[in-house]
Amino acid sequence: MTPGTDDRPGRWLDAQLHLLDRQVLDVDDVPVAVVDDLELSEVPFDQEISIDTPPPVITALLSGAAIATRIFGGRPPESRMQRTPWAAVVDIGVVIKLAVGRDTLDLAWTERWVRDRIIGRIPGGRHIPGRKRSEHSGSDERGGS
């Protein structure tokens, strides 16, 4: 993650190529979001940066309102950012995997709201299509295959 001249072991990642717009999966491999933007640690603004200052690091994955600013420019207010702490990331491949479940994440609140208020209330809404028994387990099993 750390760019620069050090020779610590690890992978080089291009934020644009390997992080932005990648699918994020939770601990059960259920999609939770796409990386809409990245939050970096504070860089002092309008000041001389001394040569031994540590480079900024990624502190969070952003989603939600951030997508609008990627498309139209600008910057969303701090309160509208849906942050997933970088510490929750466990794997970066063609998808980004988290070590936490989706129900602990703020950014999944719209999904939960629609589930609890609308879809979950329609008869049959909690059954896998084509299966008789309802399955409430959080795991991401495929129906009937």
Partner: protein, 409 residues
């Protein structure tokens, strides 16, 4: 044994699922005005959808990633959102046309006005999406859709002058009464009808739904390379029927009943019943596919959970979105807009939006990070690049042709 059954089933489903309202209407309109002289456009379109669907299916099976996730990853959010808006609107138009097609076919059976059938058709589509297993949905719609072979039977029963049909197909422009621009307008329409973007969204997302892996690549290839061309023959049979019966009498197709008229003349009530059942299955199947595609594209762009392998409550926004799309489609039809005209416009815009979807799949199919050893071979890349040029040409020409010809009037 079980495996060969699976392959056969997949191929039959692909044949039956190939034709939708766009193919039905466009082929009949073209057959009634140009005979088989535009048959080459169907062939070009069918080869194109084979190349495209084969790549998209392979990408989905190997990487486990569906088309729209990749479009955003590869093109970035700005281009992807343009692409999403265009694809979504066209998809919604196609969805509306398909539901209209189901309702029109039911009207022919029941003599009840199609507008009364529209809400029931949409409700049935929703119930299937809500409750029926993906593979059953696919297989039933595809197998009943096979009844459209009735068009080929009808063409044989009409015992046409095959030499004359062959001459039309080989010579190109046949009629002196039609303008060159109109001819090319319908060439683009046939191309768009064969290569509708939703087919690829559905095909690649369906591969994820059914949990395809590298082991299923052979099956996927068989479905596409055998099933789609045979489906394309059904398209040609529809055009052929119209060419034999409607062209000489200068009847232009403006209603679904005229699409079936030649078959009714050739095979009587029985064959007509078969065809109507086939049309109901084909349009209902396509209505299911377009509704799901509407959900797939947006859910994949925004990273929502999606898919019929989850209970709806585990993919809540995906299901809510599909319900809204169905309501919008029903609302549009209930304004009294002609479903046949919606279809004709939607196939043209399909051609316009195609490059946006085709290019990212072509790029990812060549990316070893996603594909490992299953990247495109050189021969396939050669064909795929030729198609990139054709697709771009059709997309650029589509709207000018639409304006010059006044939508082919």
């Amino acid at each position: 044994m079980k495996k060969s059954f699976g392959v056969a089933l997949g191929i039959l489903t692909a044949i039956g699922g190939f034709v939708d309202i766009g193919d039905l209407v466009t082929n009949a309109v073209v057959g009634s005005r140009f005979g088989l002289s535009l048959g080459w456009a169907v062939v070009v379109g069918v080869i194109g959808i084979c190349v495209f669907a084969q790549m998209a299916g392979r990408v989905a099976a190997v990487s486990g990633r569906a088309t729209f996730e990749l479009i955003r990853e590869r093109l970035g959010p700005r281009v992807a959102v343009l692409n999403l808006s265009a694809s979504f609107m066209i998809n919604l138009m196609t969805l509306t046309a398909e539901i209209g097609g189901v309702a029109l076919a039911l009207q022919l059976v029941s003599s009840v006005d199609y507008l009364l059938w529209v809400p029931f058709a949409a409700l049935a589509v929703w119930l299937v999406i809500w409750r029926v297993k993906f593979s059953i949905m696919e297989n039933v719609a595809g197998l009943v859709g096979l009844l459209l072979i009735g068009f080929a039977v009808g063409l044989f029963l009409l015992s046409p002058d095959w030499g004359e049909l062959g001459r039309q197909a080989v010579q190109g422009v046949s009629t002196d009464t039609e303008k060159v621009s109109t001819y090319w307008f319908f060439a683009v329409a046939l191309f768009g009808a064969a290569m509708t973007p939703y087919e690829v969204f559905f095909f690649s997302s369906g591969a994820v739904e059914e949990g395809w892996t590298e082991k299923d690549l052979a099956q996927s290839r068989a479905n596409v390379l055998v099933g789609f061309p045979l489906g394309g023959l059904l398209s040609l049979a529809i055009a052929g029927c119209a060419a034999v019966v409607l062209l000489p009498q200068l009847i232009s197709v403006t209603a679904l009943s005229q699409v079936m008229l030649p078959v009714a003349m050739a095979g009587g009530k029985l064959l007509l019943a078969v065809i109507i059942l086939g049309i109901v299955a084909a349009t209902a199947g396509a209505a299911l596919e377009t509704t799901l595609s509407a959900g797939y594209t947006i859910a994949q762009f925004l990273g929502w959970p999606w898919g019929k392998f989850r209970p709806p409550a585990q993919a809540a926004r995906f299901h809510l979105l599909m319900i809204i799309c169905l309501i919008v489609g029903v609302g549009t039809l209930l304004t009294g807009v002609d479903p046949i005209q919606v279809t004709e416009i939607s196939v043209i815009f399909s051609a316009v939006a195609l490059p946006l979807t085709y290019l990212p799949i072509l790029i990812v199919a060549n990316d070893p990070e996603y594909m490992g050893e299953h990247v495109n071979g050189q021969a396939l890349n050669g064909i795929a690049l030729i198609y990139l040029v054709i697709i771009l040409a059709a997309a650029i020409a589509a709207i000018p042709l639409l304006i010059i010809t006044g939508a082919g009037q």
